[in-house]
Structures are given as structure tokens and as C-alpha cells.
């Protein structure tokens, strides 16, 4: 007899908090990319176990209470496939990890499939040109000025790359009633997030159902456009196909008795993170803006820099929530891209109601390719030079159908909706063979602007963000390592 699937509502305390919230109120952030040195697996596990036990890994339950009792700090831990192997996890034969995660974002196959050849990466999740694989990703968020949670991981155990946030990324501009996240080119960031069904109350999203909001019927009506089934982001729950998302397993998980849900597999309540460190060439963008003006820059992004949709007239006296700023479609108002060009960044990353035969099927199919973004702008000061960029993190449950599809078929596909250039911002390309450009339909006789490479990817990897019980299993002495005999680990190593 089959067992009933897990109920999302019963598992909030096993789901890492970052799936529920982007921690908008915790304005300082820091990311650690840790490579466990050879022979240091046991101390590494001990160090991680201590970190986990310190209670800083927020769960979705704590985050849910954040309206009334905001937490002051939060952290999340995720592992690349090589990291899981390093820490002693051995894939189950019947429920192995999906191929994209196992092969890693840094692999040659992914370089082709993600269309980012050639790569000159500083780090990745596989051993190779960019050095040793990153095994562990730790993200931490704290209130401004409180200082970091981790001072510095032990150098003898880990080699670490530290990515600090840009302290100026939360800014209050004219008309804002609070500080808002802005990326290095000056655009509002973190808008248009999917709302996970059954895990609402995100910090920026508020459903409008009450009587006093009845004049905002429009926003209410489009709210469903961004409600996405939990299985698109959290493993083990219903996804947009109304199926339970595939949960991989590791050896020893069942006998360990740590599973919260009877019969639940290792990956239940987990998620995959597609991580990229993307450097932004702010000087090049400023030069472009000086020549072409702000309106054209907004067209590249597809939104005004204050976050308002291009079609809306900015009205500082009538501030809108992020949820309201997401209540728009293209098909009826802007099918030809006269206002928001078809090739603009946001229209590529989330084509909303445009790609199918009709409105309903378009929205349905777009929901198969949504990403939950949890990245933050970063700043790096080295040799007297300041470099800015975004530490991009996208949570998804099916890497191939979500992150890789968006990257390969939408962002980097020059023939997306019959255009002949790829995304104005994402990735860089050879200006001789494949110049960056954007068509601007609807100007008197159409227009086209040539673009520089505004961004460069410095590194990337796929990480598995485990549920808290699985996290305990990975880092504890009694957990994964016990089941990984050295032969098994060797056989499973990539």
C-alpha cells in the first residue's frame, strides 16, 4: 500500500527559511563558498555540526512569524554534489540525484547546455580549471551593522571564498517609504517573485482580498498568475503538473530514523540552488546610459528603475507594494512589445502570458519555468578597485525544467520569440560573432541599440539545500559518514 505524501503545512519546521522569505529586513548578507581540504572531512563535519547546532539555520516556521517576531539573523547551508560525496553521502541506486545536479554547473556538458562557453570562472562546483570544487555554500543574513555570524571558517579545514554584500544596495530614494533593494545598475531587485501555494506571507507579497481593497480588483485578479505550487521549489510536494516532485535518496537515510515524514526520502523538504556570481560592469552601463538615456536603459530591463512596470506612469504619491507592481500582463496591452520590448530582460525571464496559444495556456506553461530568487548584490574591494555584481541564487526543484530551461531557451537564446539577439544583461558574448543588441519595436520605425557586455559570470554551481533533518544527517557523526565505506565513496565519486 502506498503511503500518503507529506503535507506541506506539517513540515515548516524542516524546511530552511530561505525558501519562505528573502529576508528583506535583514539587510546585511554574506556568502561563503567552502572547499573542504583533503583529509579534513571529519573536522569539517564537526565544524558544520557545531554551526548547525548553534541554531542560526532558520526554518520556515520561524520565518513565518517574522511579521510579529522578526528574527535578527538567519543562515542557510547547501551542498554541491561533490560536497555531499565529500561528507560521506552515497546516492541511492533507485533514487539517485538528477543528472544536472550530479554533473554540476561547472561541468563541460553544462557549459554547452547553459550556452556560456567560453568560461573563465574563478570557482565552480566541480574540480577543474577553476580550481577545486566548492563543497559547501553558507549564506547568512543579519541586521545592518550587527556583524557577521561566522567570523572566518578554520583555514586548516576549509579553503574559503567570501562574498560580501554591497552595503549600499538597500537604498531609500525619493518617493520610497522604506529602503529597497537595488542592484548595481540602479534597478529595483527582487520583484516578481513567485508565491508558493501554502507558504504565503512572504515579506513582500500580500494577497488583496479584503473589502477595503475592492477598488484594486485588477491586482487581485492577477494574483493567481504568480501563485505557484510548492513542488516547483520544494522537493516532495505537488508541482505544476500536479505531481509530487522527485525526491532523491541517499544510503543510510531510512535506517537513520531521522525522516520526519514516515518513509520520506532524504531530499524531502529540500531544494536545488542554481548559484552564479555575476560581475556587473557598472562603468560600461553608465557610459551606455549617458549616450542613450534612461528610457532606453529601462527598456533593456523591461521595468522602470524604481520597479514600476514600463507601461505605468510613476506616481510617487501613490506608493505600491511589490505585489502590486507585479500585477501586469503583456498579451492584451503590449503584445508587440511596443512598451516593454520582447527581448527585454524581464520579459525573457518571465514571459507571463505571451508564449502559448492563448492566455490561460501561456500562464500555465510559464509557471513550469519559474525561479525563486534569493540572491543579493555583492561588492568586492581588491587592489584599490571596487567591483560590483550580483550573487545570484535561484531556488528550483527541477534544474532542467527551471533554471537550465530559462537560461538556455529564454535568456541566452538569440531566436527567442523570433528575435536575433540574446538577453541584454545575462551573460557575455564575443562582440564580433554574436554582438549584443536589443530591438525596440514601436519607435517610429523600430529601433535597435547595440550593447556592450554588461555582465560577466565569475563562477557558479548547483547546490542542494537540504531539509533540516537531512542537514543533521549530513553533518552528524552518526549520519551519512557511517554508511559510506571508503569503497562506496570511491565508486560514487565523479
Amino acid at each position: 500500500m502506498k503511503a500518503p505524501a507529506a503535507h506541506l503545512a506539517h513540515h515548516f519546521d524542516d524546511i530552511q527559511g530561505m525558501l519562505r522569505s528573502g529576508y528583506g529586513w535583514l539587510q546585511d548578507s554574506r556568502f561563503w563558498l567552502l572547499t573542504i581540504r583533503d583529509g579534513q572531512e571529519i573536522p569539517a563535519r564537526a565544524w558544520l555540526a557545531k554551526f548547525v547546532e548553534s541554531g542560526v539555520i532558520a526554518n520556515a516556521n520561524e520565518v513565518g512569524k517574522s511579521r510579529t517576531h522578526p528574527i535578527a539573523k538567519a543562515a542557510a547551508v547547501a551542498f554541491s554534489f561533490s560536497g555531499l560525496i565529500k561528507l560521506g553521502c552515497v546516492e541511492d541506486d533507485i533514487y539517485p540525484f538528477p543528472t544536472p545536479f550530479r554533473s554540476g554547473m561547472g561541468s563541460d556538458a553544462r557549459a554547452l547546455l547553459l550556452r556560456d562557453n567560453p568560461r573563465a570562472w574563478r570557482w565552480s562546483d566541480v574540480d577543474g580549471d577553476s580550481g577545486d570544487a566548492v563543497h559547501v555554500l553558507i549564506a547568512e543574513w543579519t541586521e545592518r551593522g550587527v556583524g557577521p555570524i561566522i567570523s572566518r571558517p578554520d583555514e586548516t579545514i576549509f579553503s574559503a571564498i567570501q562574498v560580501d554584500n554591497d552595503p549600499c544596495s538597500f537604498r531609500k530614494l525619493e518617493g520610497d517609504n522604506e529602503e529597497k533593494l537595488r542592484e548595481a545598475f540602479g534597478f529595483r531587485d527582487g520583484l516578481a517573485q513567485p508565491v508558493i501555494r501554502g507558504l504565503k506571507q512572504d515579506d513582500s507579497v500580500r494577497p488583496r482580498r479584503s473589502e477595503k481593497d475592492k477598488d484594486k480588483k485588477e491586482a487581485d485578479a492577477l494574483y493567481d498568475d504568480r501563485v505557484v505550487q510548492p513542488g516547483e521549489f520544494i522537493l516532495g510536494y505537488r508541482n505544476e503538473y500536479d505531481e509530487l516532485t522527485y525526491c532523491p535518496d541517499v544510503k543510510g537515510w531510512g535506517p537513520s530514523g531521522l525522516a520526519k515524514h514516515p518513509g520520506g526520502r532524504f531530499a524531502l523538504n529540500g531544494s536545488y540552488l542554481a548559484v552564479r556570481q555575476i560581475e556587473q560592469d557598472v562603468a560600461a552601463f553608465d557610459r551606455f546610459q549617458a549616450v542613450n538615456g534612461k528610457d532606453i536603459c529601462n527598456k533593456l530591463m523591461g521595468r522602470q528603475d524604481n520597479g514600476w512596470p514600463l507601461a505605468w506612469k510613476y506616481d510617487p504619491t501613490n506608493p505600491k507594494t511589490d505585489s502590486e507592481l507585479d500585477a501586469f500582463r503583456y498579451r492584451v496591452d503590449d503584445a508587440n512589445g511596443f512598451i516593454c520590448p520582447k527581448g527585454s530582460h524581464i520579459r525573457r525571464m518571465n514571459p507571463r502570458d505571451t508564449l502559448g496559444v492563448d492566455l490561460k495556456s501561456s500562464i500555465k506553461s510559464t509557471k513550469l519555468h519559474r525561479l525563486l530568487r534569493r540572491g543579493r548584490p555583492y561588492r568586492e574591494d581588491s587592489n584599490g578597485e571596487t567591483r560590483k555584481g550580483i550573487f545570484f541564487i535561484a531556488c528550483n526543484a527541477d534544474i532542467e525544467r527551471q533554471f537550465e530551461f530559462v537560461q538556455q531557451r529564454w535568456a541566452r537564446n538569440p531566436s527567442f520569440v523570433n528575435l536575433h539577439a540574446d538577453d541584454p544583461f545575462v551573460g557575455s558574448s564575443d562582440p564580433q560573432t554574436f554582438p549584443k543588441a536589443l530591438s525596440l519595436p514601436g519607435l517610429p520605425s523600430g529601433g535597435e541599440v547595440s550593447l556592450a557586455n554588461f555582465t560577466t559570470t565569475l563562477g557558479g554551481g548547483y547546490f542542494f539545500l537540504p531539509g533540516l533533518a537531512a542537514l543533521k544527517f549530513i553533518v552528524s557523526e552518526e549520519g551519512a559518514a557511517k554508511f559510506a565505506t571508503s569503497e562506496l565513496a570511491e565508486a560514487a565519486a565523479p
Binding site: 500518503p4 543528472t99 509530487l244 518513509g263 502559448g356 523570433n418 514601436g442 535597435e448
Partner: protein, 604 residues
């Protein structure tokens, strides 16, 4: 009509490949084939893959598959003749290993032998679909040149600030320049369109065709009876009555003809009756009644639901209980009406003899009231069940083992063509009994092909876009099933389009297949270590592919990498269509819609 589509997509599957020929990208065989296909000009797409032998096959060597998608109207015999007897002898260099040590034989003899063998192993598609049809590779190339020329010209005109802000003037100027350019003389003729995309595109043409065929049939049947009758009459008038045997034969023919006429007409009436019922319950009632619409939607959703829930389980079981007897009753009624109409008349007379008119009317009204109440009760129960909520809709664990796994060879061949048209070769086994499965698949594929040819003429099969060629073959005497397709996009996206846009067709095409374990065809190629089955369907067309995880895993495991690939044109189907539309707009009538099309083409 279907033949013309089917023979455009052919596969030659030759058993006993010994694997000595080098097919790597820069090998002489590959480059030779590449220039051969370029040279003959009518091959739009070609690929070579190795099919591993069946586990129970006597010959364990793999089979060599050559897939060809060629232009319309070419007989496969002629096509192969053209390829085999080409001066470059590229085909011989591919197949020469089947005759080791025979390279010195007379060239014509060799080619005869090869042509004969290829014809023996030729399989034209059992069903197929072509996205950008009616276009030759040469035409696609020329139209693409026109599109690029137009974009460049527009760029230059914009820089020269010639036409200010007027889109129509701009479009007119572009059209004039294109018209005056001697390079584009060929574009003066409108782009060719086959009958079903051209004159036959309207629904009335399609209905007209069917009606005409039916009327012609009736006339033919009538003539079969009437001509002997007339001849007999004339003979009798001239010479008096003939032998009684002749009269009997004529009378029999005449009766038979009348009987066939009656059956034909009643069959059509019965079909119309079914049509009215379907229209009433699936179109008219949902449009009128919100409750009915919701109920219908929820039944469809539950039947399609990929996971096991009580809601889905109950809907399916109740559906079976209700629909099977009703379907049987309707079919029995229809047969009685068609073949023994008198039984119905007799029954009616018996009924009126027993009951008075008002009693019958009252009974009918009562029956309607009872069924409305029953439906109301059922929907009430289902609503209450829905309110009970969680347990009713809560899915049960569904274990799809080894999901989301891709063989490195498949991933590699997908990665290499990520900037071009994607391609998949899938090889599965027919479910036993093979003959039964093969028959059903053939019928289903003919339906899919017919719909693809006649109705889905604008590059979308159902609502699945981006298919260049997709074709299915039943090979090895009905033991195995081969699907080859080249398409725009990625494997996952392609299957998503099928799952959501062509559920019925995909279920029909695949549901009689399964995947048995098999060894790898060559080093570095995928093997099937664990059997898989196609996700189970309900009422033949529901569920099935809606179980995304199982369907994608099934398709992934059945895939084989290509060893050679030739694509005459790299444009996507949408780009091909855009260029053709631009050609027709530039050289067509000057009107607003054409002007707009030109401007949109250059702005894209």
C-alpha cells in the same frame, strides 16, 4: 493523401552493423555524406544512429539507422536511387562494411546491390508531422536572405533618416526596394501552399469534401442497383422477359443496393446523432450551465491527475461503472437503428399499444427528473467530499525510480546542437501481443497524420509548436517502435509542449509501447538496464503523458544519440514562417496588415 506525408520521412534500418566504419565528425564518410546531401538539395534533414539489438534477437550486432526527411512528392525509390548512384559514392562508403572485401567490384554492380538492400530495409513513416511544410530547403534559404537583406536595408534607411516617423511610408519604401532588387525576382510569385494550407484551409472546404464523398458514394451505390434494373427494363421492352435467373439476379442486386443505401444513410444519421449528443453535453451544456462546466472540468482533471488520490480513483471507477454500460447501450441502439430499423419501429408500436401517449410523456419527464436528481446528488456528494478536503485530494506517494537521469552521450549530443535544431531518436518495444499493439498504433498514427495534414497546417501539432519533422516507425516486423524528431528547443521543453498541447495524440502514439532492457549498441552509447513502462492511461487518452516524471524518464531512457547529423537549414520553424510571411508581405498587395508585418519583421 497520407502517403505523401509518410514517404517524406523515411528510415532505413539495416541489421548486422559490424561497427568498423568511422562516423566521427571529420571522417571521410561523414564529410562525404554531408556533401552528398547538400548536393542532392532535396534532403532537409538526415541522421544516423545505432539501434541496439533486441535482447531476444539472434543477431546481437546493432542495427544501423539512416533517417531522411526529404521534400514533398519524391518517391523513396527515386530518392534512394539518387543518393546511391551519386558520383561521390558516399552511400557506398557508409554501407561498404556490409560487403567486406567487395570494394573492387564493378561500381554499377555495387550500387545495384546497395540500392536493393536499402529498399529491402526501407521503412516509410507509419505516421508523421511536418511543421514548416510546403517549403524546400532552397526556398527557406532564399527567404532567409530576403529577411536579412530587409533588416540591413531598414537599418541603413533609419540611419539615413529617410522616412521619419511614418511606418507605412517606411514599409512602402522597403517593398519598393525589394521589388527593384533583381536578386529577389523569385519572390514575385507568392510562396507555394499545399491544398489544405491554401484553398482547403477553411472548415467549409473540409466539410464539403466529406459531404461530396458521401454523396458520390450514395450515387455509386444507387447506380449499382439502377443500371442493371434499367438494362433489364430496356431488354424486356425490346425483346420480352429474359430467363427468370437473370431477373432474380437483377432483383437481388437491386435489393442489395437499396439495403446498402439505407444502411449508409442511417449510419450517417446515427453518427450525426452521436455528434449532437457530444455537442450537447460537451459544448452546449457547459456554455449554458456553470455547474455542468465545472463538473466536466473536474472530471477531466481527475481523470488526467497524475498522482493517486481518492478523488481521482473514485472518478475513474465511477466513470467506468457509468460510461461503459451507457456506451454499450448507445452503440447497441445505433446498430439496431442502422441494421434492423424495424426492431425499433416494432418496439415503438408495442409500446404505444400498451401505453397511452400521456403515459409515455410522463415516463420520459420522470426519467429526466430522476437523472437530474441523480446528477445533482452525485455532484453534491463530490462537493461534500471536496470539503472533507485533505484526504480526498491528498496524493499518495508515487515512486518513479531513477527519474531525471540522462545518459552522458545524450547530454553531449544535445549540448553540441544547442544553437541549432534539436533532435531526438527514441527506440521502444511494442507491448505484447505485438500484432494487436501494432494495429492500434497504426490506426492512431494515421489519425494523427491525417489531423496533422488537414487541420494542424500552421506548424503546430495540437498546440505544440516548433516541430520540424516528427515521425514514427514500426520496425522489425512489429517488434519495435522508432520515433525520430527534430524540433526547436530543448528535450524537456519539447515534451512539456506535448504533455500540455497534444496530450491525446501523444498518448495515442505511445500508449501501446514499453521499454525492455537492452545492451548498449557501441561503447559510449546508452543501454537500458531497467525496464520501464509507458505511464498508464485511462480511457485510452487520459492521464498517460500527464505523469510528467514517468513519461520524461521513459522517453529519456529510450533515447539514442545521433552519430551523424545533417540539417539543410538551421532556422527555427517560427523564423521560417516569419521569412515566408515577410516575402508575401513585401511582394503582395500594399495594405495596412502587410505594412505592419514588414515593420514587425524588421523590428524583431
Amino acid at each position: 493523401m497520407l502517403e505523401i506525408v509518410r514517404q517524406q520521412m523515411i528510415c532505413i534500418v539495416v541489421p548486422g552493423w559490424n561497427g568498423t566504419t568511422d562516423l566521427s565528425e571529420d571522417s571521410p564518410v561523414s564529410t562525404g555524406l554531408y556533401s552528398l546531401f547538400r548536393d542532392v538539395e532535396v534532403v532537409q534533414f538526415a541522421s544516423i544512429a545505432l539501434l541496439p539489438a533486441r535482447a531476444d534477437a539472434g543477431d546481437k550486432r546493432p542495427l544501423l539507422m539512416l533517417e531522411l526527411a526529404i521534400e514533398e512528392g519524391i518517391d523513396p525509390y527515386d530518392m534512394l536511387y539518387r543518393l546511391v548512384y551519386h558520383w561521390s559514392e558516399a552511400m557506398w562508403s557508409l554501407y561498404s562494411s556490409f560487403w567486406p572485401g567487395d570494394a573492387t567490384a564493378l561500381r554499377s554492380e555495387r550500387n545495384d546491390k546497395l540500392h536493393k538492400m536499402l529498399m529491402k530495409h526501407l521503412s516509410i513513416a507509419d505516421g508523421g508531422f511536418i511543421g514548416a511544410r510546403d517549403r524546400t530547403a532552397r526556398q527557406i534559404e532564399k527567404e532567409q536572405e530576403l529577411l536579412e537583406w530587409t533588416r540591413d536595408e531598414a537599418r541603413a534607411m533609419k540611419q539615413a533618416m529617410l522616412y521619419g516617423h511614418d511606418r507605412s511610408a517606411f514599409a512602402l519604401a522597403l517593398a519598393q526596394r525589394a521589388f527593384q532588387n533583381p536578386r529577389f525576382g523569385w519572390a514575385l510569385d507568392p510562396a507555394p501552399r499545399s491544398y489544405w494550407r491554401g484553398k482547403g484551409a477553411s472548415i467549409s472546404a473540409k466539410i464539403g469534401y466529406v459531404l461530396t464523398l458521401f454523396v458520390l458514394w450514395l450515387i455509386a451505390v444507387w447506380l449499382v442497383g439502377a443500371v442493371p434494373r434499367g438494362a433489364l427494363g430496356v431488354y424486356t421492352w425490346l425483346f420480352g422477359p429474359p430467363y427468370s435467373g437473370v431477373t432474380d439476379v437483377v432483383a437481388f442486386i437491386s435489393r442489395a443496393s437499396r439495403w446498402v443505401l439505407g444502411v449508409s444513410i442511417r449510419s450517417v444519421l446515427a453518427l450525426l446523432g452521436f455528434g449532437v449528443l457530444v455537442w450537447l453535453f460537451l459544448i452546449a451544456l457547459p456554455a449554458l450551465s456553470r455547474t455542468w462546466r465545472r463538473w466536466l472540468e473536474s472530471v477531466g482533471r481527475e481523470l488526467d491527475r497524475p498522482t493517486d488520490t481518492w478523488s481521482s480513483w473514485l472518478t475513474y471507477r465511477i466513470g467506468l461503472l457509468l460510461s461503459v454500460p451507457i456506451a454499450f447501450a448507445l452503440v447497441a441502439l445505433a446498430f439496431a437503428f442502422i441494421f434492423w430499423p424495424s426492431t425499433i419501429v416494432d418496439a415503438y408500436e408495442a409500446l404505444t399499444a400498451k401505453f397511452l401517449g400521456w403515459q409515455i410523456i410522463a415516463f420520459v419527464i420522470l426519467a429526466i427528473v430522476v437523472s437530474v436528481c441523480a446528477v445533482g446528488l452525485l455532484s453534491r456528494i463530490s462537493q461534500d467530499l471536496a470539503k472533507v478536503g485533505n484526504w480526498f485530494f491528498q496524493p499518495y506517494e508515487d515512486n518513479v525510480p531513477r527519474a531525471q537521469q540522462v545518459d552522458p552521450s545524450i547530454e553531449n549530443s544535445e549540448g553540441l546542437v544547442v544553437r541549432e535544431t534539436a533532435h531526438m531518436v527514441s527506440l521502444t518495444d511494442l507491448r505484447s501481443p505485438n500484432g494487436w499493439s501494432a494495429w492500434w498504433i497504426r490506426v492512431s498514427l494515421r489519425i494523427v497524420t491525417l489531423f496533422g495534414r488537414v487541420i494542424f497546417t500552421e506548424s503546430r501539432l495540437g498546440s505544440a509548436p516548433g516541430i520540424h519533422f516528427g515521425h514514427w516507425h514500426i520496425i522489425e516486423d512489429g517488434r519495435r517502435y522508432l520515433f525520430c524528431s527534430n524540433y526547436d528547443g530543448s528535450f524537456g521543453g519539447y515534451l512539456d509542449d506535448f504533455i500540455n498541447g497534444a496530450t491525446v495524440g501523444t498518448n495515442l502514439a505511445w500508449r501501446w509501447t514499453t521499454l525492455k532492457p537492452r545492451k548498449l549498441a557501441a561503447v559510449g552509447q546508452p543501454a537500458v538496464e531497467h525496464a520501464r513502462s509507458f505511464p498508464p492511461t485511462r480511457f485510452i487518452v487520459f492521464r498517460g503523458v500527464k505523469r510528467e516524471l514517468q513519461f520524461k524518464s521513459y522517453a529519456r531512457d529510450s533515447m539514442l544519440p545521433h552519430m551523424f547529423r545533417f540539417d539543410a537549414r538551421k532556422e527555427s520553424v517560427d523564423q521560417i514562417n516569419l521569412a515566408t510571411r515577410l516575402r508575401d508581405a513585401l511582394f503582395g498587395e500594399r495594405n495596412d496588415s502587410n505594412d505592419d508585418l514588414i515593420m514587425r519583421a524588421i523590428e524583431s
